[in-house]
C-alpha cells in the first residue's frame, strides 16, 4: 500500500505534474508527511533529535478537545429536542441530531481553513504547517450551533488569513486565529452571536415526536440553514445562554434569580445548557485541562492565572454587589463566573495557545490573571457584550509581548547583577 502511495507522491513531486509549470509540492507533501514520518536526517550535531515534532504537539490539543466534541455534539442535539418540547430523546438520538449540526461545521472549517493554508503554502513555497489542525478543531467549538454556514466560511477565512497568514503563518501570529475569526463574526453578525437564541432547530422532527424526517426534508432544511442559520424560535422555551440571562436588564426582574431558576450550577458544570458547541461542559474542559497539563502542552500557569484573575475580580464585584441597584450581575457568586460561558474553555484551550501568549513562566501568570480579571469586567460592566472571554484573551494577546518584554528586562537586570 505504501509503495502505491509512494508512486503517487513521486509523480506529484515531479516539477509541474498537476498544473503545468506551477510546483504543487506543498499539498501533496503535507499529506505525505501527515501519514508518514519525513525521511529527513539531522544535518549536524546534535545527531539525534527529540521524537516530538509540531504534529504530535498539536495533535495532543486535538486529543484534549475530544471530550468537548463528544459532549458538545450530544448537548446540541439534546437542547434542540428540548426546544421543541421533546424530553425523552435517547443518548443516541441526541448525538445523531447533534452530529447533523456539528459535523458540517467541522468539515467546513477544515475544508476552508485547509484551502487557505494550502494556498499560502503554495505561494510562499514552504510546507503546510500543522497549526491549522488545532485552529480548525477549536473554531467550531466556540461557535453557536445555530451559525449559518456562510458565516462560518467567512469567520474561518478571516481567522486564518488575517489572524495568522498575513503575519507569516504558524508561530508568527499575534492573535489567536480561532478567536480572531470568532471576533470577526461577533462584530459583523451580532444577531447570530449575541447568545440570545443559541439552540438549533432539530432536523429530525417528525409529527410524532422523534420520527426522522424524510431525507428530502432534511436537505431542504439544510439549504435553508445555510442561508438563514438554524435558530429555533419555539414558544415557551428560551434558548438563551446562562450569560445572556445573567446580563439581562429587565426592570423588576432579578437577573440572578432568573438565571438560577433556569440553570443550576450543576447544570453549568456538567454542561446541559445552551451555549457554544464546546464550551458548556466544565467537566469536559477539566479533562482537557488535566490532559494538557499532564502532557505539558498547555501551561498550568496560564490556566491558574486566568482562574485566579476571574475569582479575584468576581469577589471584588461581589463586595460592591450588595448595595448595587444598577447591575444584578455584580451579585453573581464569584465561583459561578468561572463555570459560566466560555470562561473555562477559554482559560484552558485559548489562553494557553503558546504562540499568542507570552513564553516566560512569570509573564504567563500575569497574562492569565489579567485575562481572568478583564473577562469578568467585560461581562459585568459592559452591557453590549454578554461574554468577555474572547475579547479579554484577544486584548491580552496584544499585550503579551509587552509583558514578556518587561519580565525579560528584569531578568536581564538580575542576571547582570550576579
Amino acid at each position: 500500500m505504501w509503495k502505491f502511495w509512494e508512486k503517487i507522491v513521486d509523480a506529484a513531486n515531479k516539477e509541474g505534474a498537476l498544473f503545468g509549470k506551477v510546483p504543487n509540492k506543498a499539498l501533496i507533501n503535507a499529506t505525505d508527511t501527515f501519514f508518514r514520518k519525513p525521511a529527513i536526517v539531522t544535518a549536524n550535531a546534535p545527531h539525534m533529535r527529540d521524537a516530538t515534532d509540531l504534529k504530535r504537539f498539536i495533535f495532543m490539543v486535538v486529543v484534549a478537545l475530544l471530550p468537548c466534541y463528544i459532549f458538545g455534539t450530544y448537548n446540541v442535539g439534546r437542547n434542540a429536542y428540548l426546544s421543541i418540547g421533546v424530553t425523552d430523546a435517547t443518548l443516541m438520538q441526541c448525538t445523531l441530531e447533534g452530529l447533523l449540526h456539528v459535523l458540517p461545521l467541522v468539515v467546513l472549517t477544515y475544508l476552508i481553513g485547509g484551502m487557505w493554508e494550502g494556498i499560502f503554502a503554495q505561494v510562499r513555497g514552504h510546507e503546510i504547517s500543522e497549526g491549522f489542525l488545532v485552529t480548525g478543531a477549536l473554531m467550531p467549538l466556540i461557535l453557536p450551533p445555530t451559525l449559518p454556514w456562510w458565516q462560518l466560511v467567512l469567520g474561518v477565512s478571516f481567522g486564518v488569513v488575517i489572524g495568522k497568514e498575513v503575519f507569516g503563518g504558524v508561530g508568527m501570529n499575534i492573535l489567536n486565529p480561532a478567536l480572531t475569526g470568532r471576533a470577526f463574526l461577533f462584530f459583523a453578525y451580532p444577531a447570530q452571536l449575541s447568545g440570545d437564541v443559541w439552540v438549533a432547530k432539530p432536523f429530525i422532527n417528525g409529527a410524532n415526536g422523534l420520527e426522522p424526517a424524510a431525507w428530502t426534508t432534511i436537505a431542504v432544511e439544510k439549504i435553508q440553514a445555510f442561508i438563514n442559520g438554524k435558530a429555533a424560535a419555539v414558544d415557551g422555551y428560551s434558548g438563551a445562554t446562562a450569560l445572556a440571562k445573567a446580563a439581562q436588564n429587565v426592570p423588576g426582574v432579578d437577573a440572578i434569580q432568573d438565571l438560577h431558576a433556569t440553570y443550576s450550577v450543576s447544570d453549568m458544570v456538567w454542561g446541559f445548557i445552551p451555549g457554544s458547541i464546546g464550551e458548556t461542559s466544565i467537566a469536559c474542559v477539566a479533562f482537557g485541562a488535566f490532559f494538557l497539563i499532564l502532557t505539558g502542552v498547555g501551561s498550568w500557569r496560564t490556566m491558574v492565572g486566568v482562574f485566579a484573575g476571574g475569582a479575584a475580580m468576581g469577589l471584588l464585584l461581589n463586595g460592591f454587589g450588595g448595595s448595587s441597584e444598577v447591575n444584578d450581575f455584580f451579585r453573581l457568586p464569584w465561583y459561578e463566573h468561572l463555570v459560566m460561558g466560555s470562561f473555562a474553555f477559554g482559560a484552558v484551550f485559548m489562553a494557553t495557545d503558546p504562540v499568542s501568549s507570552p513564553f516566560h513562566k512569570t509573564s504567563r501568570l500575569i497574562y492569565g490573571f489579567l485575562i481572568g480579571a478583564l473577562c469578568i469586567i467585560i461581562r459585568t460592566i459592559n452591557p453590549a457584550y454578554p461574554e468577555g472571554m474572547m475579547l479579554a484573551i484577544l486584548f491580552m494577546n496584544v499585550f503579551s509581548p509587552l509583558i514578556d518584554h518587561y519580565v525579560v528586562q528584569s531578568w536581564i537586570k538580575r542576571r547582570a547583577k550576579r
Binding site: I40, F59, P354
Partner: protein, 468 residues
C-alpha cells in the same frame, strides 16, 4: 566540596553506549595529525612529504599565531599531507617507524613546585599543549598571557580576552563518550601532575568531579572542586561548571582543559616526552562490538571501525551509515578515510534513519527518545531508548513551547537568543547572555519545530568575535 545544582539539562538513557567492554590495544602503521577543526587555526605545515620526523618535532603551526604549535607525537616518515576544501589541513599522515624522540626536559614533582608562572606557560607553549586549551566563551585557543593582540583587516588591535581560570572536568555526562574511568586508568599520576602544572601558571584551577571520581583526584590542595551529577547532561561539561563557579565579566574567558590534554601535560612534564596514547571508544547502533580501547594519537577512523566489528573493507562512510567523532550531541561527522582528533576520541557508528514510519504521531510511542511528556515512553524513565539520526519532523516556525528554556543548563532563554542571532543584534545577544551558552546542543535536540538553534546561536557568537 561544593555541589552544583543544575535546573536544566537532561538525563539520557540511550542504548548502544560505550559500556564497560575493553577492546584491548589498537595499533596502526600510519597515523594522521590535524588541528581537530579548532576555530581560527590556519595550519602552516613545516614538514614535507618524505621527511623523517622524531616524536616532538613541529609539524605545523597557526599562521595567525605562532604560539599555536602542533608537534608530532610519534617518529616516522611523512607519508602524505592531505588538504580538504579551501586548503584546510585535513591530516599530516605519518608512517610510524623508529624511536627517535625530542626531549623537553623532565621535572620531578618537587621541581614542578618550584616552577615560575612564566616558565610553566612557556613550557606548555613550547610543547604545543597550550594550543589545546579552548576558551569559553567562543571556543578559541586561549591567548597566551602577554602575547600581542591580533589585528583586524584595518590593522587595529582586536580585543584579547583575559584568562581568569582553568577548568578541568573529571566527569563525562554526554551519552556515547569514552568513560572518564577508562581514560584515567593508569593515568591518574599524570593527571595529578597536570593539575599541579596548571596551578603553577598562576591561575585558579577548578575541577568538576562526581561521586564516582577517584578520591586522589578530589583532594589536590589549591584546586577548587565542583561536584556534579554525572547522570545529568551536560553537567560534565567544563563550560557548564564554569557557569556555576562564577559568572564571567566582559572580556574575560576561562580555559577548558580536556582530560586527555591534562594527562598529556603530566606526562610531558614527568618524562620530557610527548605522550603517544589515547583512550578510544566505539559506540552506536551500527557498531557490533562496543567498548573502549587504547591506541596511538591520530588513529585512523578505519582502525577503530574494524575494531568495532565492521569489516575494514567496507569501512567507508556511506549514505546509510554516519560516523561521528565525539558524542551524540556535540560530535562532528567524520569520514572513514580520516583520523581521530586529539580530543574527540569516541567513534559513534550510527545507521542513518530515513525510515518512513506510518502514522507516527498517532502512536503511543513507547520506544521514542523524548524530553516531552507526549509519548508513553515518558512514563518509562528507566528504559533505554535508541537514538536515531532521524530529524523526526520538518522545520517549522517557533511556537514558543518553552522546552528549550526548560532544558538549557545555564538558564538562558534560547528562544530569544536565537532570534537575536538571526537579527544579528549583538547588543541583544550579549544582554541575553549568549556568552554563557555552552554549545551543548540540548535546545536543538528538543525543539519540536526542528529549528537549528545551536547553529544559529553559533553564527551569532562568530559575529560577536568578528565584530570584536
Amino acid at each position: 566540596m561544593e555541589k552544583v545544582r543544575i535546573k536544566g539539562g537532561q538525563r539520557f538513557r540511550i542504548a548502544h553506549g560505550v559500556g564497560e567492554n575493553d577492546l584491548g590495544v589498537l595499533s596502526s602503521e600510519t597515523v594522521g595529525f590535524h588541528p581537530s577543526g579548532t576555530k581560527d587555526f590556519k595550519a602552516k605545515v613545516v614538514v614535507k612529504v618524505g621527511d623523517d620526523v622524531a616524536a616532538g618535532d613541529l609539524l605545523f603551526f597557526n599562521k595567525k599565531n605562532e604560539n599555536h604549535r602542533y608537534l608530532s607525537s610519534c617518529s616516522g616518515r611523512v607519508k602524505a599531507i592531505e588538504y580538504g576544501p579551501r586548503r584546510v589541513l585535513e591530516a599530516v599522515v605519518i608512517e610510524r617507524s623508529g624511536e627517535a624522540k625530542t626531549s623537553f626536559g623532565s621535572f620531578s614533582p618537587e621541581q614542578v613546585q618550584s616552577l615560575g608562572a612564566e616558565a610553566t606557560i612557556a613550557h606548555l607553549v613550547k610543547t604545543g599543549l597550550w594550543s589545546r586549551f579552548l576558551s569559553h566563551p567562543f571556543k578559541r585557543i586561549v591567548p597566551v598571557p602577554g602575547e600581542p593582540a591580533p589585528k583586524d583587516i584595518h590593522g587595529h588591535d582586536l580585543p584579547v580576552p583575559s584568562l581568569i581560570r582553568f577548568h578541568v572536568s573529571f566527569v563525562e555526562s554526554e551519552p556515547h563518550l569514552v568513560p572518564t574511568g577508562a581514560t584515567l586508568e593508569g593515568n591518574i599520576e599524570n593527571a595529578l601532575l597536570g593539575l599541579e602544572v596548571l596551578k603553577r601558571t598562576g591561575f585558579d584551577v577548578v575541577a568538576g568531579v562526581s561521586s564516582n571520581t577517584d578520591s586522589k583526584l578530589k583532594s589536590v590542595s589549591g584546586v577548587a572542586y565542583k561536584e556534579v551529577d554525572e547522570t545529568l547532561f551536560p553537567a560534565g561539561s567544563a563550560e557548564v561548571q564554569s557557569y556555576f563557579t562564577q559568572p564571567l565579566g566582559a572580556g574575560e574567558c576561562v580555559a577548558c582543559v580536556d582530560l586527555e590534554t591534562l594527562i598529556d601535560i603530566g606526562h610531558v612534564v614527568r618524562t620530557g616526552e610527548l605522550r603517544d596514547e589515547r583512550t578510544y571508544a566505539v559506540a552506536g547502533e551500527g557498531a557490533s562490538k562496543r567498548g573502549h580501547a587504547r591506541g596511538p594519537v591520530g588513529l585512523p577512523v578505519a582502525t577503530l571501525q574494524s575494531a568495532s566489528g565492521v569489516p575494514s573493507g567496507e569501512a567507508t562512510s556511506s549514505t546509510d551509515t554516519r560516523l561521528v567523532a565525539g558524542g551524540l550531541l556535540r560530535g562532528k561527522k567524520i569520514d572513514a578515510k580520516h583520523y581521530m582528533g586529539l580530543t574527540e576520541t569516541t567513534l559513534n557508528i550510527l545507521p542513518e534513519d530515513r525510515e518512513r514510519t506510518p502514522f507516527v504521531f498517532f502512536r503511543p510511542g513507547g520506544n521514542r527518545l523524548t524530553t516531552f511528556k507526549l509519548w508513553t515512553s515518558a512514563l518509562m524513565k528507566g528504559k533505554e531508548q535508541v537514538a536515531t539520526t532521524s530529524n523526526n519532523g520538518e522545520h517549522r516556525g517557533c511556537v514558543q513551547c518553552g522546552q528549550c528554556i526548560k532544558v538549557c543548563p545555564v538558564e538562558l532563554m534560547p528562544n530569544l537568543v536565537f532570534k537575536a542571532a538571526l537579527a544579528k543584534d549583538i547588543e541583544k545577544m550579549e544582554q541575553l547572555g549568549i556568552r554563557d551558552c555552552t554549545d551543548c546542543g540540548l535546545c536543538t535536540f528538543v525543539c519540536p519545530s526542528k529549528i537549528e538553534l545551536g547553529e544559529i546561536v553559533e553564527s551569532g557568537k562568530e559575529l560577536i568575535v568578528k565584530e570584536g
